[in-house]
């Protein structure tokens, strides 16, 4: 699926102990396995089922997604900035395919 595209917004700069907000969105149909196509056939389940965020190699936040999550899953969460580093975002779909994204943040 070439249309699957992750996007994310992380502030480039932050001050120490500032609570920043990280926003992510991945373009994905999230077929729940219940919807039907035009011919009345059930579209098989195909969703993003896991999301993981690492900061400097350490896992800080993860999420398990179920079919009840909307199309184009949007996930936002806060983070208390302590030092400069890189965030690694990783989405996994039902086939085990991974979509990744990196974002850098400078803390001063």
């Amino acid at each position: 699926m070439s249309s699957v595209k992750p996007r994310g917004k992380v502030p480039k700069k932050a001050s120490i102990d500032e609570v920043i907000e990280i926003k992510t969105l991945i373009r994905h149909p999230m077929h729940s396995g219940r919807m039907k196509d035009k011919d009345g056939k059930i579209i098989p389940r195909q969703i993003i089922n896991a999301f993981k965020v690492e900061f400097e190699g350490k896992e800080i936040f993860s999420m398990k997604l179920e079919p009840s999550i909307s199309t184009n899953p949007y996930i936002a969460f806060p983070y208390k900035a302590k030092k400069s580093g890189t965030f690694n975002f990783e989405w996994t779909d039902d086939n085990g395919k991974k979509y990744t994204m990196k974002r850098k943040m400078k803390v001063s």
């Binding site: 936040f61 999420m63 999550i69 208390k80 302590k82």
Partner: protein
């Protein structure tokens, strides 16, 4: 003789009515099966310990016009220190085909326990938040969402 025959028919009718009612009972109980499934799910998550109902900031709309995109946001007051932090947060919906919506895993590094996402709701129902802290204690809160057009593509 004729009268006796009629009585027999009536008895047969009565049997049919009894069986019919029993059938209707079985059918109506299957409608509520998802409610049982929901209670079972909560018991499974909490290891039959149950959850304490508390006030947690769970932000869901009162009325959702489109059940396909319902924003859900929560914030739990917690020091998020090594000895006291929220480990897991479950979002559950009791009227969806499957009660689970999402499971969030937090770490102390985050400093704050909060998250936002969007979910599907098939009909008007309660949305539950179930939080677990590092001492395996559970806290729960719920909020009713009225859904105008259901999501889930039922």
């Amino acid at each position: 003789m004729k009268i006796k025959k009629m009585a027999q028919i009536r008895r047969r009718d009565a049997m049919a009515i009894i069986l019919g009612t029993a059938g209707a009972f079985i059918m109506s109980s299957s409608v509520y099966a998802s409610k049982d499934k929901f209670t079972q799910r909560i018991n499974k998550i909490t290891n039959n310990k149950g959850a304490k109902e508390t006030e947690i900031f769970l932000d869901v709309p009162e009325i959702a016009e489109n059940g396909n995109q319902v924003k859900v946001n929560f914030e739990i007051e917690s020091p998020m220190s090594q000895n006291d932090y929220i480990k897991t947060v479950y979002i559950l919906a009791d009227g969806n085909p499957s009660p689970d919506v999402a499971k969030f895993s937090f770490s102390q590094e985050m400093g704050v326990c909060s998250a936002t996402t969007r979910m599907r709701l098939s009909k008007t129902q309660n949305v539950y938040l179930l939080a677990e802290n590092n001492n395996n204690q559970f806290f729960m809160t719920k909020s009713m969402v009225k859904v105008t057009i259901g999501g889930c593509g039922g």
